[in-house]
């Protein structure tokens, strides 16, 4: 991974067509990513839009040429946007606006569907209570692994760490969750 990151040969900037493909492949995951982390479906959609618009503006800095590497790059931008959202309390729309775009409001059906996507339906009430007491970083890895059912290579790409480090982080987060209560039925088979 480290070698790929510090390659000296220039990688051509992403084209509009490549960005379109990235949208098709990654927009649903990004929507889930944001919907589960922010309270408002409107903000989740704004953050998806802002992530792609910001990605377009920094397309010359996109790392790697494989779909996985580009996904990791995109999720890196998404995490920055999320941190920014938490700091400001609203979804910044500067990159999106700079493209001259605004969007319509969500319909009630869309609103409800995104709320559904955001729910931690797979987890029992007890696990949810324990989950809420974990740190933001532990919540993050468990959301990816348990709720979004990412496999480890994908999880590693999303967190921008090695696969070994991703396994270790899930393992530690699960251990901390177990210390908060007995969730053995819910967490069966999820050990790193």
């Amino acid at each position: 991974m480290g070698v790929a990151r510090f390659k000296t040969s220039p990688i051509p900037a992403l084209t509009g067509e490549e960005m379109e493909r990235m949208y098709e492949e990654n927009a649903p995951s990004l929507l889930r990513f944001f919907a589960r982390r922010v309270s408002s479906p409107e903000s989740a959609v704004d953050l998806v839009a802002e992530t792609f618009a910001a990605g377009w503006q920094s397309r010359s800095q996109a790392r790697g040429q494989s779909a996985e590497e580009r996904r990791a790059w995109l999720f890196g931008i998404a995490r920055h946007r999320l941190a920014d959202f938490r700091r400001r309390g609203y979804a910044e729309q500067s990159a999106y606006s700079r493209l001259g775009l605004t969007r319509r409001s969500l319909t009630i059906d869309e609103f409800e569907r995104i709320e559904q996507v955001a729910s931690l339906g797979k987890l029992s009430g007890a696990v949810r209570a324990g989950f809420a007491r974990l740190s933001e970083s532990d919540q993050e890895v468990l959301l990816l692994r348990i709720v979004e059912e990412r496999d480890y290579p994908e999880l590693a790409a999303s967190l921008d760490v090695s696969e070994t480090a991703a396994r270790a982080r899930v393992s530690r987060a699960l251990a901390r969750l177990r210390r908060l209560g007995d969730y053995s039925d819910d967490l069966e088979g999820l050990n790193a």
Binding site: G16, M19, E24, P28, V45, W56, L101, R103, R104
Partner: protein, 335 residues
């Protein structure tokens, strides 16, 4: 396998389409944004601009051997002759009378919210808050058979929150999100349009590709030099034309008084603009390597922008051409 969430949420599809349109527009130097420059740039102080310009000049002197180099801007006649050469070398995409000419494009236009489309009739309508509408349309036209048009609204944007509120209160009666219009008849059976001139297939195919004669014929049909420009634009944009005539039309552009060519460094697209006396500026953007018209746009400047109550440089209409081809039936897509 595509994620079903995209299709379950229309907003995500719309978002994808509008981002895609913006990426492609941005990529080729165009923008469907309401102003040509981001606002923060407009606020830059002159001192800062001068400093940046000085550094740029210094850098270009020191580093002129590498990186992107600024192309020397050719004059209009030379630029158009080069594009004409490319057009001439390409195969004809010309339908028979019973075939269909297919065109797909994304059109964006500015519309006063309280007026009907394209009727800037009164001062009140001119000053009214505007909505910027983008729609994708496809047309199938034939010289002998009934054609078809499909359109799909992909985006609406507003300059202010009050304009959006006004639109929301009126939109139900104004915009059909998806429309299909069948049974479109040709202006006259077995006739083709070259600008505003109706010709039979034989007449069109035998029209001499002579820019001087073409200019005179188009001027006679339209009455003014700017009308020659718009007739050429219409023909290159949306009508079937044999390659050698398309080449001659590019050369004819250079005969229109006031037309100016620009070729941004590092891009394959060139732009020809014509400033009209009424304050609108018409622009044609084409690919130098394929001799295809990529975009057409109208920009309101100076007094015209003031009259419309929009910032100078606002794009009032823009068309991005996506695909052209010949097919056997209406509704069929080219391969």
């Amino acid at each position: 396998m595509p994620d079903p969430l995209l299709d379950e949420l229309p907003i995500m599809r719309e978002l994808g389409t509008q981002l895609s349109v913006a990426f492609h527009a941005d990529e080729s130097g165009d923008s469907i944004s309401t102003a040509e420059q981001p606002r923060h740039r407009q606020r830059m102080s002159l001192t800062f601009v001068a400093a940046v310009a000085a550094v740029s000049v210094a850098c270009s002197l020191f580093f002129s051997g590498g990186g992107r180099q600024r192309r020397p801007v050719p004059n209009l006649a030379v630029g158009m002759a080069n594009v004409a050469d490319v057009a001439r070398s390409q195969p004809d995409v010309f339908p028979s009378d019973r075939q269909f000419f297919y065109l797909s494009a994304v059109v964006s236009y500015l519309e006063p919210i309280r007026a009907r489309p394209a009727t800037f009739a009164s001062v009140a309508q001119l000053k009214a808050p505007k909505v910027h509408i983008s729609l994708r349309y496809e047309t199938w036209s034939s010289a002998a058979r009934e054609g078809l048009t499909r359109s799909h609204v992909i985006h609406t944007s507003f300059g202010s929150a009050s304009a959006r509120r006004l639109w929301n209160s009126e939109r139900h009666a104004r915009l059909t999100p998806v429309a299909e219009l069948a049974g479109i008849r040709p202006p006259e059976p077995h006739r083709y349009l070259l600008g505003d001139i109706l010709l039979t297939r034989a007449q069109l195919l035998s029209t001499p590709p002579n820019p001087r004669l073409l200019y005179r014929r188009l001027l006679a049909a339209g009455g003014t030099p700017p009308s020659v420009f718009s007739q050429i634009a219409d023909t290159l944009a949306a009508r079937p034309v044999p390659s050698r005539l398309r080449a001659a039309l590019y050369e004819t552009i250079s005969r229109v008084p006031g037309a100016v060519l620009s070729e941004p460094a590092g891009r394959d697209a060139s732009t020809v603009t014509l400033s009209l006396a009424n304050g609108f500026r018409e622009a044609l953007v084409f690919n130098r390597n394929t001799a295809q018209l990529l975009k057409e746009r109208t920009v309101a400047t100076g007094p015209q922008a003031k009259k419309l109550n929009v910032p100078s440089g606002t794009v009032t209409m823009s068309t991005i051409f996506q695909q052209r081809g010949v097919v056997g039936s209406a509704g069929q897509l080219p391969r």
